[in-house]
Symmetry: C2
Subunit: 158 residues, 2 copies
């Protein structure tokens, strides 16, 4: 399937009042090459292996293939990943859309990102008051990049 996703910073924690679910996610990447990322994820009681293909220029469309795998095997595979990222995911309905809001933990604590999936690049959607600046296509906010270069280390001079 073709994914149209737009990604935003989140400016307040008020989204939690409107959330309908919260799930702990642990994930890592077996490869982070943008042309073919391979992600391992444990989400609740299920494991997943997800391959994402080449982005278009604007970064809003990527092809994605997701396979369910046993949770125990997903945990094995997380052990192969160079780093593991942990977050709580909240589902927040707004108008006719569903925002997925990720509150990152560990080395990315303090970062909160919201994503909305659209059927076309022109589709109109509501922006709730907790929604901040759009960061669609900004590679620093890719989960694959947050594994390598976590939020807590941004802006450090070396």
């Amino acid at each position: 399937m073709i994914e149209i996703e737009r990604k935003f910073l989140v400016s307040s924690l008020n989204f939690k009042n409107e959330a309908v679910s919260r799930t702990f996610i642990a994930q890592g990447f077996l490869t982070t090459e943008p042309e073919r990322t391979v992600r391992v994820r444990v989400k609740g009681e299920q494991g997943y292996l997800t391959v994402k293909g080449i982005s278009n220029v604007s970064g809003t469309s990527r092809r994605e293939w997701e396979f369910e795998i046993p949770k125990t095997e997903a945990m094995d595979l997380l052990g192969l990943c160079p780093s593991v990222l942990e977050k709580n995911r909240f589902e927040v309905p707004v108008g006719s859309h569903l925002y997925e809001v990720d509150e990152f933990l560990g080395a990315n604590a303090g970062l909160v990102l919201a994503e909305i999936e659209l059927e076309s690049e022109e589709e109109v959607f509501q922006r709730p008051n907790w929604l901040g600046k759009e960061v669609t296509g900004d590679v620093r906010y890719y989960n694959s990049q947050l594994s390598l270069s976590p939020y807590s280390e941004w802006g450090q001079t070396s």
Copy 2:
């Protein structure tokens, strides 16, 4: 599972007289890092996604996780791989073991490799007369390497 595999060159095509099956395989790699290779394979009518983990020093033990996926999705994923390797696989019973013999095609034509899977590193097995030099642990003969540096280009001076 832990795999104990030994790999050999094949010195004649006589193995075909003893083969009990022959299957066409197309495969590619989403990543070839030795610590975490991810292989896409179409074998007959089935697709597979296989992750292999870290080798021991001698190169005979690797952890492996294999997931069946639909053939159509495996063909999609082959399209993401930097190169696709094609071969005919023959199953050849010898004594109480089964050799898997791969006759490579395309850029690796001329190369034939036999593999045997053992339950321990000390296990005894028969060596048929068509079996050549052992190449276990020689990275040039890894399928991942044969994609990047095919047999037909070996020994070329550049």
